[in-house]
Subunit: 588 residues, 2 copies
Amino acid sequence: MIERLLPCVGWLGRYDGVAFRGDALAAVIVTIMLIPQSLAYALLAGLPPQVGLYASMLPLIGYALFGSSSTLAVGPVAVVSLMTAAAVGEIAAAGTPEYAGAALALALLSGFFLIALGLLRLGFLASLLSHPVISGFITASGLLIAASQLKHILGVDAGGHTLLDLGRSLAGGIGETNLPTLAIGVAATAFLFWVRAWLKPLAMRLGLGARLADTLAKVGPIAAVLVTILLVDLFSLDAAGVQVVGAIPQGLPPIALPPVDLDLWRELIPSAVLISIVGFVESVSVAQTLAAKRRERIQPDRELVGLGAANIAASLGGGYPVTGGFARSVVNFDAGARTPLAGVLTAVGIGLTALLLTPLFHQLPKATLAATIVVAVLSLVDLGALKRTWVYSKADFAAMAATILTVLVAGVEAGILAGVGLSLVLFLARSARPHMAVVGQVPGTQHFRNVKRHEVVTSPSVLSLRIDESLFFANARWLEDKLYDMAVADPAIRHVVLICAAVNEIDASALESIETLSERLQAAGIDFHLSEVKGPVMDRLERSDLPDRLSGKIYLSQHDALAALDPETTRTAESGPRPRRSAAALAL
Amino acid sequence: MIERLLPCVGWLGRYDGVAFRGDALAAVIVTIMLIPQSLAYALLAGLPPQVGLYASMLPLIGYALFGSSSTLAVGPVAVVSLMTAAAVGEIAAAGTPEYAGAALALALLSGFFLIALGLLRLGFLASLLSHPVISGFITASGLLIAASQLKHILGVDAGGHTLLDLGRSLAGGIGETNLPTLAIGVAATAFLFWVRAWLKPLAMRLGLGARLADTLAKVGPIAAVLVTILLVDLFSLDAAGVQVVGAIPQGLPPIALPPVDLDLWRELIPSAVLISIVGFVESVSVAQTLAAKRRERIQPDRELVGLGAANIAASLGGGYPVTGGFARSVVNFDAGARTPLAGVLTAVGIGLTALLLTPLFHQLPKATLAATIVVAVLSLVDLGALKRTWVYSKADFAAMAATILTVLVAGVEAGILAGVGLSLVLFLARSARPHMAVVGQVPGTQHFRNVKRHEVVTSPSVLSLRIDESLFFANARWLEDKLYDMAVADPAIRHVVLICAAVNEIDASALESIETLSERLQAAGIDFHLSEVKGPVMDRLERSDLPDRLSGKIYLSQHDALAALDPETTRTAESGPRPRRSAAALAL
């Protein structure tokens, strides 16, 4: 019981020295990787650098207590940082206390929402985000983030939450490019791309083991940090106009309640919902991939609670919205993390950094952090997915392309809403026109088959239709129009029978459509009947007023219906010779 | 061809004296009914009374040219007036020129949107509004409208777009109730309820024919208008504090472009979309019901264009958003209207009223108009639908109740969005967990059946699953988790086979879930296979990278799959004795 509430009780009870060695090593490597990332993502979110460090402490402990993945590494990530900047930027100017306060409130609301989803077992809501929408969203966010960092690499003032605003603002400032900044930015970007692509093979050729070479490539970015700090310090580049991180307060995060301001909260709720769902979807997929490698399992509803706890911890401990990071979790896993204690130890590592090392980062150029971000996010951009999706499904391609374009042109929140909206509309458009067939009686049998595919006998006065899908709001209106049009097209028709053998559900909209259709047909002198209604569907229909309002009857079988409505044709059909095809084929 | 663009060409070509007599009589009756309604609905929308008359002229001609219903009576209606007040009230104060301008712009945008939907054949989007949501929306709007009119009946100052705001504001003003106003308001309301319920039976008992009695009941409300005007005039009740309509400019509507202000338009677009869809849904259902009585048909996409033309006409001719009215169309139909010319003649009637009769309405008490509205909208309130829906379907009830509560508490726009959102979420929640069965081989056959319902042989190392629904984004993630959990639950499992015989579609999300699942299972030492994939689905899968990324194979039949993956069990099963049930039962 207690283990269901607090999963940590389970793994702490089984903890041993082997697990600790794995966790400790992983924590050291993740800490080194996380230092530049946390500073950089805080910059991306428009927050002071120390906020990135704070968001990498308490949230990791919050997740370790409640999360269900043994290796997920929680903290600030690129896409959520961008979404935070977009949401909070609507409310306050970057750099003000109101801005930081709104970021804390956003983390709190996001935490509450995630926990509520988890406790109410509503994790399936994440399926509103189809894969093409997520993929398009991440690609477009990556492009937008990379574009937003150009100002730091050029050393100019610029801003904006869409590609257009960014481009216009950069074009205006490009004349004031600061050359030392540009040199550092380009060199750092080139170095980091080189580390990512070439350091591991090089290290292996120099005789290092694959695992050590891999670790070297992951912690390599810290070298760019240290070298550029030294360069700035030695040549006083900050005096030459190179923007540096500046003074970072030394010490642990302030523990405090985020601002309790209902008007602010109301404004932030939609953004908190979007950030929560995007963060959850990203996080749970990496957690599941890693869990599978150890034949473990992730409980999505527990993951929601774990991420919710992490975000509430972020809001109490001076951070901003967090989630599980992809690259970071893979590093944690590969470095041998066994339990969430690796996360706690990482938090301790970041805590020591905040206590002791922040003076070191005073001279760190913002261009170096921007280079870290650019290299990290460009690996998220997958334009090839557009082509693959186009080949596979035009509808999915449309949703993906709409998401990408809207993110770039109108920003992240509009983008995700456009993608979700279009996915739903396209899905409803498909569901709105289910397959329906006019059927007739196979001579010499009591079977009814599609008139287009079989030699069958049809009644001149009875139109028999078989529908191959459940009836619900998306196709109710279509059914109403389609059946009516088909019925009145032939003036000899006196009865319409809808065969419901494949109908698993009739919702209230479809029920009302059937009643309206019955009235419309009756006004045109035609009776409307149902046949072969399934048991559970019939039980519900009997609780409604349909049996009274239907102009016709509900028949157990289509044969019963036709025998009652047009006995003559039925007799003719049954006495007729069977078609040449075997009865076995007809039974299919 | 020309008839497809302009449906009026068709009926004008066949026009004759019989049709004219029907149209003219209907126009006279609808005009008498429309005069108090159009003044009252303009009041409800927060607009000057003449705007209601203007909205009952050009729009009727616009619809007559492009609409497809022969009897739909277009003009101002209660729910759309309320929605207009809510939308425009966000932008300007009632009574200002900006307010009237925004209402014109709203009609223009609504017209453009309706025409675009019609030309793009997107009428199916209206199915986003399920029947319970529409029903709940109309009931709640009716209650809200009735509540909003209480201030006119009490003669106090009050306002607000939610029940809470209205109640609070009324409670504050109730001490200042104006007694003559209250007397007129209560008497008019009682009289109008009496007309609606008792005038027709009384007239018939007095020897009038049913049709004449019915007409009398429909035009009865004009008596309340005339009598209360007389009372105010005779006893100078306006000096005693009875609010009257006041001076109405005499003459035809000003023809002018509505304000072209892109910022204003951007703010109004969401409201225009909602108003258009609600108006269309209401209008098309009454048009279809009436068309059925004459065995005619309505083309929903043409209706969109007709209503769009009516709204653009409203925006050019000094009106505000309009749609087809329910009661008014029924009266038009019953009075014998044959063609849309009845609408044109009604427009002429209203035009004569605007030219000649407006001085008459100077002393018309607002309380009388409020009584007209209250009596009209209370007939829309159907709280019994809540109970019927509860009995039939809990999910539909939830959507309906959420719509009603949100409309009352947070306003009309929030209400409709809440209802649509909840319908979709509940639908996805149902789709997210499709039916799935573990299957085994029927001994002595090559058939596979649900292990829970049949005596079958299962392989210890192969898990065979049959899924009974198409795979798409709403169930992709569920499938991924469910299959993985089932597979790793038994350590002996080495292969999972998903039988796709009932899968009509695999969208890009489901494709990616299958690939991810394959990788997760492979990481756990399990191969993942598909069998019995349908032709069209297979064609698309072959265009994807699935054949390369799937750890297992795609088998033509489940029997092939099992014979390859566990030949021993297959041999045992096939040589085993058939179960006692007949082979025919197994073929089902």
